[in-house]
């Protein structure tokens, strides 16, 4: 019964998120552009009308219903699905390794931090976690790019043409989420301090390493696993920055193209905003988050946690 309830609740939640996404993306975004004066000064005016908003939403839904497609892109005869099929595999190559690296190594690092919280190795434990969590991903990316370009120009680490082109971005993406996981884990482990079962296990003569992994970690997984969706969210936000800065052709990169972030305006034309693509990519992100939630559920089930 409990599972059905959770599933229903989550389904409801994701429906609401999708509706919110649609409402934000389909908000009428065309300001009236006009030019005036000798210098043809561009003037923008924006009048919001409910009618246009309603039209946008209805037209989009009708299109989805009729064509069974999420919409058109800026390229002719290329539908959103085609674009996603092209860019999604590139991104998955980064996201999935990064996600599992940060999950496993994050928990490992958390255990390390917890074990060494009172001795000199703490500098590499909590200290390193602190420092790495305070350094934004863009700083690491920019520094690494500069180093690679000017010191080892022959290394084509960021090129997507090599088969190993995804390794460096995956590692870059996983840094922040890994440290997030490490902090969650070490905090959860410290919360178990002083419980009787730990003393019993120690009294029976188990070494501390086994007590930590078999007993304490198992019990604290209960409070670690709910954070697995946040882990995916952190992975995705790092992905946005890393792909944009490196110029890696993945979902996030396509997203910025779809948002049409240009800073210059010509008269007559406004940004090439592609609602369909944004909705499609938003749905991809959402399904990755659901996937993370499922992973958490599977881990919980397979370890027979209460």
């Amino acid at each position: 019964m409990d599972i059905t309830r959770t599933v229903m609740k989550n389904l409801f939640l994701y429906t609401i998120i999708i509706v919110a996404l649609l409402l934000i993306v389909l908000f009428p975004r065309n300001p009236a552009m006009s030019v005036s004066g000798k210098a043809l000064t561009v003037e923008m005016e924006y009048h919001f009308s409910w009618k246009e908003y309603k039209n946008n939403v209805i037209q989009y839904l009708q299109h989805v219903w009729k064509e069974k497609s999420l919409g058109e892109t800026r390229h002719e005869r290329v539908m959103v699905e085609d674009e996603i099929m092209r860019f999604l595999p590139n991104s998955l190559k980064i996201i999935l390794p990064a996600f599992f690296i940060s999950l496993l190594f994050g928990i490992w690092k958390g255990i390390f931090d917890y074990k060494n919280r009172r001795n000199k190795k703490n500098i590499f434990g909590n200290g390193l976690t602190w420092i790495l969590q305070s350094i934004p991903d863009f700083f690491i990316v920019i520094c690494l790019q500069w180093l690679v370009i000017f010191t080892f120009p022959s290394l084509k680490l960021f090129s997507q043409t090599n088969w190993y082109g995804f390794i460096i971005p995956a590692i870059l993406v996983s840094v922040y989420p890994m440290m997030y996981m490490a902090r969650i884990t070490s905090a959860a482990l410290s919360n178990e301090d002083g419980q009787y079962y730990i003393q019993v296990a120690k009294a029976k003569g188990f070494p501390m390493a086994i007590v930590t992994t078999r007993h304490i970690l198992r019990n604290s997984l209960q409070s670690i696993l709910p954070h697995i969706t946040s882990l995916m969210i952190h992975t995705l936000s790092s992905l946005l920055i890393v792909e944009y800065l490196i110029g890696y052709e993945g979902l996030a990169y396509r997203l910025f193209t779809a948002l049409g972030f240009t800073t210059s305006f010509n008269m007559g034309s406004f940004r090439g905003f592609e609602p369909g693509v944004i909705i499609g990519i938003g749905l991809c992100f959402l399904s990755l988050v659901i996937l993370a939630q499922l992973t958490g559920f599977i881990i919980k089930r397979s370890l027979r946690l209460p």
Binding site: I16, I17, S134, P136, F139, I149, S230, T263, M267
Partner: protein, 296 residues
């Protein structure tokens, strides 16, 4: 055990505070931010901005020929005002919401949970970028304030949920029951029983949040979403969005291009963002240890 975290955090914070408040009056800082794009160092020699780090420009100059060190010091004020306004607004909204939901059921608790779930299912930067690109916000005359409000509100749910959970745990303690038994009024209960006990963790989280906001502002600047902007005409029938403020985010906006030609332009502002994030985090950890000093 001495509280090294708090010590280092306070030193770093006072360093930043000094430059923020007195930076403009220091002798080596050019408060006017004047710059020349082309300079003629000697006969027949021409140099164009950006100038690399040298004696005249300790950290180099930007593409307008303005001294980067002066820009950083003058921009510190704008950056910190931005960060603190966002975090303060967020906490002003989140603290009452969290306290009101302390029973873990009822309207406010429900509101906090949904607010958190709704905005934490997609990356914050994705949501904020989408909302900040809405056309009526794009050239709104108060865009600056709207942006601050939006960034603050997006993460209110997360903060208020944390406060709510802590308040709920607190509500089952005996001293709360004692308060109820002797007939303390609900408002008084909140102010003098709940709030003082929640204060330490709120202060700690406040600084950690400030660090997160600093990173978020940097990320938004990287993808060219600006907090304050203006439309500037550059040609016949062509205009360009220009960011008029001098905060650190503005300086790193062209990081993708600058990394090859002028690495110092994005590097030093990013370093400043990193340092302030480290400061906020260390202060948070130091304060946590300070507040927990009796229990350890």
């Amino acid at each position: 055990m001495k509280n090294y975290y708090l010590f280092i955090g306070l030193i770093l914070a006072s360093f930043f505070a000094f430059f923020t408040f007195f930076g403009a009056h220091l002798p080596f800082i050019d408060a006017e931010l004047s710059g020349e794009r082309v300079i003629f160092p000697g006969p027949g020699k021409i140099e164009t901005a950006p100038f690399p780090p040298s004696d005249k420009f300790p950290l180099g100059s930007d593409r307008e020929g303005r001294d980067l060190l002066s820009l950083l010091v003058i921009g510190a004020k704008d950056t910190f005002i931005l960060i603190f306004m966002i975090v303060i607004i967020r906490y002003i909204v989140a603290i009452p919401l969290g306290l009101l939901g302390f029973r873990n059921k009822g309207f406010f608790s429900w509101l906090n949970k949904w607010w958190n779930q709704l905005f934490s299912s997609l990356p914050v930067i994705f949501t904020t970028a989408l909302i900040l690109c809405l056309p009526f916000l794009l050239f709104h005359e108060h865009r600056f304030y709207w942006t601050i409000l939006i960034i603050a509100l997006v993460e209110v749910g997360r903060v208020s949920l944390i406060i709510q959970e802590q308040a709920h745990t607190l509500s089952q303690k005996t001293f709360i029951e004692a308060g109820i038994t002797i007939g303390v009024k609900p408002v008084k209960m909140m102010v003098s029983h709940y709030f003082p006990n929640l204060m330490p963790s709120i202060v700690v989280n406040f600084f950690i949040d400030a660090g997160r906001v600093a990173i978020l502002i940097g990320q938004l600047a990287i993808i060219n979403v600006f907090i304050s902007q203006e439309l500037l005409q550059v040609n016949y029938g062509q205009s360009q969005i220009l960011n008029m403020s001098v905060d650190w985010g503005t300086l790193i906006r062209e990081a993708r291009r600058d990394v090859i030609s002028a690495f110092w332009i994005p590097f030093f502002p990013m370093l400043a963002i990193v340092l302030s994030t480290v400061t906020f985090n260390i202060l948070g950890e130091g304060l946590r240890q300070h507040f927990n000093r009796h229990t350890q």
